[in-house]
Symmetry: C2
Subunit: 196 residues, 2 copies
Amino acid sequence: MTDEKEKIKTDLFRQAMRRFAATVSIISTVSNDGTPHGMAATAVTSLSFDPLSLLVAVNKSASMFEPLKSSGFFCVNVLHSNQRNQCDIFSRKEIRDQRFKVGNWEKNENGIPYLTDAQASIFCEVDQNINAGSHSAFIGLVLNVITDELIDPLIYLDGGFLNNTEAKNTSQHILNKETKKYKSTTQNLEGIDWLW
Amino acid sequence: MTDEKEKIKTDLFRQAMRRFAATVSIISTVSNDGTPHGMAATAVTSLSFDPLSLLVAVNKSASMFEPLKSSGFFCVNVLHSNQRNQCDIFSRKEIRDQRFKVGNWEKNENGIPYLTDAQASIFCEVDQNINAGSHSAFIGLVLNVITDELIDPLIYLDGGFLNNTEAKNTSQHILNKETKKYKSTTQNLEGIDWLW
């Protein structure tokens, strides 16, 4: 396939993925020295119910990739619609010093950080790590689960957030404002994977 | 872990997954004799952008599992919010004779059926088939993509559909009405995987 055809296909795939509404989670883990790591992600899906498992796609260039591989444990913290700030903090490099400092973060018995006021926190042990090119798919066996009563996810669609006009506008403003800065240097934006 | 503890964990995982808003797609493929097969699914996620790939989780008991393994090709048809009927047709066994007969289904050059009025149709070739217990994760390399202009996905959340009160009520009515019939015989309901 020519470069031009490949470019068109990539653009069409991006457009197709922008049509998927998806829930935003923070995936968290810990490195061997006890440092917490995390990223915002929409590429999370339930996989199997025997055994209970889910799957997350992680960019190999993400700062949490190596810690996740090493520790073998992670937590999927499913955000509430009012937790846009967590999504920003775990997506934008320039405010990454706020990670795990803003919000009610605790640690479980394996030292994995989890957001106590998330909609749900799903603790997993890595069962398989599947190489898929730029990304790996991590299959996590579910160890335990905490849920909040309220069902009200932060939903990402078409480069903005659903059911929250103000957040959506803010997001688009941020994206527009920062396009020049980030477009050709996507490694600056950890959450680029879900920013279709 | 005791059966009771396992049951509690399963129930909590189910509750957590009900907190994920997700877009409904019809995954379609074809068996060697040319028969089309499909299922409604929310367990679809983008995976890698080099190479372009996505991932779908398929229950091994689903009627499309073997055809998908054999053909090695599939299409992800991303539904519009007004395509609840496709979701029903591809979830409920008692109306399965309507599959591929209702709606504008065409076939691509590999014989894979696709819904021409979906939000997007993403054609894939299976690259990896990962065993995960009750389900397999199929990684598909993206071959080509068709998109519609309108961005308006059919979104599933907490056993109903978002942004469409009538559809949501209908769905819940269906679920309630049919609970007795389906609850203990989940194999009757092909779409059970996303009916968290």
